[in-house]
C-alpha cells in the first residue's frame, strides 16, 4: 500500500510499504494492506514501517493523525524525524 509521512515542513517518506505500526493516541495501531478506511489520532512515539521491497524504517512522530483510505495511508504528524 502507498504510504506517505507528512510533517508541516516536508514529506519525509513516500512509497510502497507492507506494514505500519504507528503510535496511536491510546496505544499502537498496526496497519496492513486492505485496511478499512480509518482516521485516528496519533500520540507520541516511534512509527515503524516495513517497505514493500524489504527494509524497515523508523520515525519519531508526535501528534497529528493517520488516515487510511483506498489502500493509501497518510501519516500527517505535527513533528516527525527519522529515527535510527
Amino acid at each position: 500500500m502507498k504510504t506517505s509521512i507528512i510533517s508541516p515542513e516536508r514529506v519525509l517518506f513516500e512509497g510502497e510499504v507492507s506494514s505500519i505500526v504507528a503510535p496511536g493516541f491510546d496505544g499502537e495501531v498496526g496497519i496492513l494492506a486492505r485496511h478499512a478506511p480509518m482516521v485516528t489520532l496519533l500520540g507520541t512515539g516511534v512509527l515503524r514501517l516495513e517497505a514493500a521491497q524489504g527494509g524497515a524504517r523508523r520515525f519519531n512522530v508526535s501528534g497529528g493523525f493517520l488516515q487510511v483510505a483506498d489502500d493509501v495511508v497518510r501519516v500527517v504528524t505535527e513533528s516527525a524525524t527519522p529515527a535510527t
Binding site: 507528512i6 508541516p8 516536508r10 478506511p37 482516521v39 489520532l41 488516515q67 483510505a69 505535527e78
Partner: protein
C-alpha cells in the same frame, strides 16, 4: 588633471558598491530558491489537514469547539505582524508595517483593543519607535522558520481565544505569489473558517462523495477535530512564516538588482565625463604646443 582624478575615485567607489549589491543579489536569489522549496514542501501537510477537517466538520458541531466560536462583537483582537530581521529589501518591510498599521487602526476605530505581536526586528523596531506597546516581540527567527516557531508564536493567541479573552486573531504577512509579487496580506486565523468540502461532482453529491469512505474514527469525530483545529491554526501561521521568508529574499533580490542597474548607469555616466575631460585636456595640450611652436617660428 584634478577633475579626472576625482572622477576616477568616484567611479571606483561605485564599482565597489556594485560589487556588493551584485553579490547580495546572487545570495538572495539562492536563498529565495531554497525558501521557495520550503513553501512548496509545506503544501502536502496543509492539503491533508484541510481535507480531513473538511470531511469531519459538520456545521452542527460548531458550537462545541472553542476555536470555531463566532463572537458577535470583537472586543479584543490579536494582530501577529510579520516582518524581516534585515533590511535592504526595498519597500518590503515598509509595506508590511503599513498593512499592519492600517489593520490595527481599523480595529481600534471599531472600538477593539488590539494586542500586537511583532515578529521580526524591523517591525519590532518600528513599533518601539512610534511608542506602541506590544504584547510580544520576537527577533530570533532565522531564514528557516520551523513549525515549532509558528506554534510558539501563536500559542498565547490560541489560548486567549479559547478562553474567551480574545475574539479574533489576524496575521499580517507577505504572500509569496512569485519572486516579483509579494503583496502584504492580512488573514484572519481565528475564529477558524472551516475549510469547504471539495465539490467533486458538484451539488449535493459532494457531501456524499466525501463521506463515501465511511471512516472508522478513533476516538471520535469531535475529539479528532478538537485536536486538529489548533494544528490547522498553527499551520496557517507556519505558512505565513515560510511565505514571508521567501518573499523577503525575493524582494531583496529585486532591490539589489535595481541597485546594481543604477550603479551601472552612474558608472557609465561618470566614465563618459572622465573621457570627455581627458580628451579636453589633450586637445588643450596640443593647442598649447602648437601655439608655442608658432610663437617660436614666428
Amino acid at each position: 588633471m584634478a577633475k579626472g582624478r576625482e572622477l576616477k575615485g568616484r567611479i571606483k567607489s561605485f564599482e565597489n558598491t556594485r560589487k556588493i549589491t551584485r553579490t547580495m543579489e546572487m545570495v538572495a536569489t539562492s536563498k529565495m530558491k531554497r525558501a521557495q522549496d520550503r513553501v512548496v514542501a509545506a503544501r502536502p501537510y496543509a492539503a491533508a489537514l484541510r481535507e480531513v477537517i473538511a470531511s469531519l466538520y459538520d456545521p452542527e458541531l460548531a458550537s462545541q469547539f472553542p476555536l470555531l466560536r463566532q463572537p458577535a462583537t470583537v472586543r479584543r483582537a490579536a494582530v501577529i505582524a510579520l516582518t524581516s530581521n534585515r533590511g535592504l529589501a526595498g519597500a518590503f518591510n515598509a509595506n508590511l508595517i503599513r498593512e499592519a498599521r492600517t489593520l490595527v487602526e481599523r480595529l481600534e476605530s471599531e472600538g477593539t483593543t488590539v494586542d500586537l505581536y511583532a515578529i521580526g526586528r524591523k517591525g519590532v523596531g518600528y513599533f518601539r519607535y512610534v511608542g506602541r506597546q506590544v504584547a510580544a516581540a520576537r527577533t530570533d527567527l532565522t531564514d528557516r522558520p520551523s513549525a515549532q516557531d509558528a506554534a510558539d508564536i501563536v500559542a498565547p493567541a490560541v489560548e486567549g481565544f479559547a478562553a474567551g479573552t480574545l475574539d479574533a486573531v489576524y496575521v499580517v504577512y507577505a504572500r509569496f505569489v512569485s519572486a516579483l509579487t509579494t503583496p502584504p496580506t492580512t488573514d484572519r486565523i481565528l475564529p477558524v473558517q472551516p475549510p469547504e468540502r471539495e465539490a467533486s461532482s458538484g451539488g449535493k453529491s459532494s457531501v456524499l462523495s466525501s463521506r463515501r469512505h465511511d471512516y472508522i474514527l478513533a476516538p471520535s469525530a469531535e475529539s479528532i477535530l478538537e485536536s486538529l483545529l489548533p494544528a490547522y491554526v498553527r499551520n496557517a501561521v507556519y505558512r505565513a512564516l515560510v511565505e514571508t521568508a521567501a518573499a523577503e529574499q525575493g524582494a531583496r533580490r529585486t532591490a539589489m538588482k535595481n541597485a546594481t542597474d543604477n550603479a551601472n548607469d552612474v558608472i557609465n555616466g561618470l566614465r563618459r565625463q572622465f573621457n570627455r575631460a581627458r580628451q579636453a585636456q589633450i586637445t588643450q595640450e596640443i593647442a598649447e604646443i602648437v601655439g608655442g611652436a608658432a610663437a617660436l617660428g614666428g
